[in-house]
Symmetry: C2
Subunit: 258 residues, 2 copies
């Protein structure tokens, strides 16, 4: 039986999807592009790409100097609509600053999205990872402390679906890269209610995470602290960082709107 394509679905607005694809085409490596470049990157005809770009310019989501197009800050409003709709978002930030004040290490909040975690709040101290992290950044869930925490909080069917889709690969020589070991690690996270990941995502990076739950004990987000392996021992993370994180997660949960 032929699978119905999205565009054959009578309730699908493909002009919206195509326009969003144009926005997503811009990146660190392509901060500004010509009309022809956008068409090439998106696989659209030049005429179509042109209409989307001019529409984005007209609505102030993008700008042009007559040749090159670039996104404008109004695009952030779209993401901000999501952030501000998160129940824990407003209350998490002061709690996270308290964590940073107490431990002098970066603190982050993330949610699960597909195979990734997505950062929704962050109070950075000294840089720990090679790449800069910010709201909106994505990392693979299988080898990050917040990722494993969030996976551990999934209902069994969703976790099984995740295992079916994920392709684990070594990011460092310490990465857990076989499914049996990964499942064991996530089960351990579930049982002990926190997750410590040591240099699996990047050498030198050590982080510990706990779940943030709602009143029905569902896992909404993960909260972590990350440090450099030279600065903090695993034992210190368990004895000093974990109690602060558990308390912080509890405070966030308690402050959630009804």
């Amino acid at each position: 039986m032929t699978k119905v394509q999205a565009s054959e679905d009578k309730d699908y607005v493909q002009s919206l999807v195509r326009g969003l694809e144009v926005i997503r085409t811009f990146s660190r490596y392509k901060p500004r592009m010509t009309l022809t470049e956008v068409a090439q990157q998106t696989g659209m005809t030049r005429a179509a790409a042109r209409r989307f770009l001019l529409t984005l310019v007209r609505e102030e989501y993008a700008e042009t100097d007559g040749k090159y197009f670039a996104l404008r800050p109004k695009v952030l409003d779209l993401g901000f609509a999501y952030l501000s709709s998160l129940p824990m978002w407003e209350v998490a930030q002061p709690v996270m600053r308290d964590v940073v004040n107490a431990l002098q290490e970066s603190c982050s909040l993330a949610v699960l999205d597909g195979l990734d975690i997505v950062y929704v709040a962050r109070v950075p101290t000294e840089r720990v990872m090679t790449i800069g992290l910010s709201i909106g950044s994505r990392l693979p869930a299988y080898c990050s402390s917040m990722g494993r925490t969030l996976l551990a909080g999934l209902p069994p069917a969703e976790l099984a679906a995740y295992y079916d889709r994920v392709k684990v690969e070594r990011r460092t020589e310490r990465t857990v890269a076989n499914m049996v070991a990964l499942k064991d690690a996530i089960e351990a996270s579930r049982r002990q209610g926190w997750t410590l990941v040591d240099q699996e995502l990047e050498m030198g990076l050590r982080s510990i995470a706990v779940p943030v739950r709602n009143r029905r004990a569902e896992v909404l987000a993960a909260l972590n602290v990350s440090t450099h392996e030279g600065r903090t021992s695993i034992e210190a993370m368990k004895t000093r960082f974990l109690p602060v994180l558990l308390d912080a997660a509890q405070r966030i949960s308690a402050a959630l709107p009804q």
Copy 2:
């Protein structure tokens, strides 16, 4: 002469614009909505709103429980496309953390967008403002230190256009709320190359900002440090904070890609 409506423009894709309006409808106060609520909020027919919502769900920008719709983290990718395309974004963050380490106060980076400033990076310490601030947050430009810094960096014609559009109003009893005084303040910012705003946006809030320039000396963004009036005197901001900020802005400028 009748003004041409956007939708009469042959190069305008109104389905994209309408779909983006659906995304923007979600907020802190409406984190989840029914189909009928979205239609009411956006002024669309129910059928149209339904198609946009189902399309967003299909593309994983939104989710539904069968009745209520909510945005998903994928929406952050749209804003992230903008953030990651900013030339100073990657290099600014470690510099801002150095500022926070040196001064123990929140440090932010913002750009101008219309009448507002929009936060594009932030390293918060203790909460200074009543509302939580984050990447994507907007504040009026006329009564914020980063706003006046960015306005001061505008070409004369753009600044004149801003003056034509802005409606200044008191946010506190200290807010500069007449155009002559505002223009003087911005001209002073331009001349001295930094801006200090004391309790004009909110009582208790004191902040100082400097411009971040590119190699052609154009102002790309503003960098600030904010504190509480009870914690730091104006004199201390000038003698202790300003040199650190000027140095930081210089380091960001120096690290910009060619």
